[in-house]
Amino acid sequence: MFDSNEKSPTVGNIFAENPKISARNVTVYYGDKCAIDDVSLDIGTGEVISFIGPSGCGKSTFLRCLNRMNDTIDICSVAGDIRLDGEDIYDPTIEVVPLRARVGIVFQKPNPFPKSIYDNVAYGPRIHGLAKTKDELDDIVEASLRRAGLWDEVNTRLDQSGTGLSGGQQQRLCIARAIAVSPEVILMDEPCSALDPIATARIEELIFELRNDFSIAIVTQSMLQAARVSDRTAYIHLGRLIEVGEPSSIFTTPQHDLTNSYITGRFG
């Protein structure tokens, strides 16, 4: 076992065969507080990667680096190199709006716009000009709602407000909204934390269906969920990427003391 006291490099394979995103030496500060400490990791094309770790370890912070959501936080500074298809996403010439269409995000708390169900999903395709006609837009909305497993529940009330849906439906609406712009990567920050087991199972099934078309990075507090949905699981501790590997090995034979303590529920 690797010793928990020294600052060891990440255990396991940080590389992906066919990387969609390559993060190298990413370090994030909020003011003078370090939240992510020298993390390097690839996210493969078509890969589902999950992030686990204690509260406050930096999972959301790392996720938000991947589509520059941290830009919206004044005191947040990001160093290192993050590439999407080999292109530096922090390059000054990169525009964040199209970047966020390519790398979509679904938050822990569903945040539908105070608009109709239809407009929630149509919003992205409209601003990115993805539909030429109303029919095309209708098709995108229907297809997205179907993929998110919500169509059957809402197709008779598309004009009603998205905020009037249940929590689980709102979350699926946000997922429909994210996939409506055909992103290449979907970031999900604890998408199921407020959902019941059935709604959770639906979202996991959705992730399973989306896995080949998108790269998915998901933060989850549920180790079972991480084990079920992901190709690789990454364990973060105090801003450091401690270990990454297939769930079948991370959850049976973790190599690092810190990973072991966390997944077996011990004092670390």
């Binding site: 180790m223 034979t253 973790p254």
Partner: protein, 234 residues
Amino acid sequence: MVASNHISSAFDQDLKEMSDKITKLAELVQKQITAATQSLATLEDRGLDKLIKRDKKVDTLEAEIIEQAVQVIALRAPRAEDLRHVLVMQKVATILERMGDYARNTANRTKVVLVDGANLVPVSKVENMSNLLLTMLENALEAYHTGNRDLAVEVRNADVEIDKIHTALHKEIIQAMSTNPDGLVSGVHLLFITKNFERIGDYIAGIAEQVYFLTEGEFIDNFRPKADKTSWNA
């Protein structure tokens, strides 16, 4: 190797209870093997019926451990070393219960041998075999309790000695039977008794393999030295 230091102290408690039961079961099985051997070695009934009755206790303890394993898996979803530990305790309980069955069977057969009265082979040789088994079992249990991988491998490889003893005794008994027709009944039972002991050796090696899995997280390679030749030259 009692897992501890969980944030949930109730989980620690569950694992400790299971582990304590394994200790109890192991001690009981040791007692059963010892008792069966004593009657055979002295050619005197030293409480064989009591031994046979005690086998129920072995069965009950095994059932309790398995039930508790199911509970722990269902309620606590153990992971990594904890999951292995629960699986291993369940498996070891089953192995110990089987060993108990062989001790009971040996007691039943010993009763016949005592009635029959034929003294075919020096029973001290069977006693030696049993003593070696008890040492192996002691070591296997120590390896389990201390998580000692090397000792586990040693125990597993020591089973080859039991095989050799069994092969030699097997020959000797058959030889004695062929020259002493009055001893046929005892001879047949002694053959089964030594076979029981040979099987107990395999089971102890099985416990050692579980310890290896527990500490290493993978199964020991399947090659195990074997020297039981009784089915070739019988």
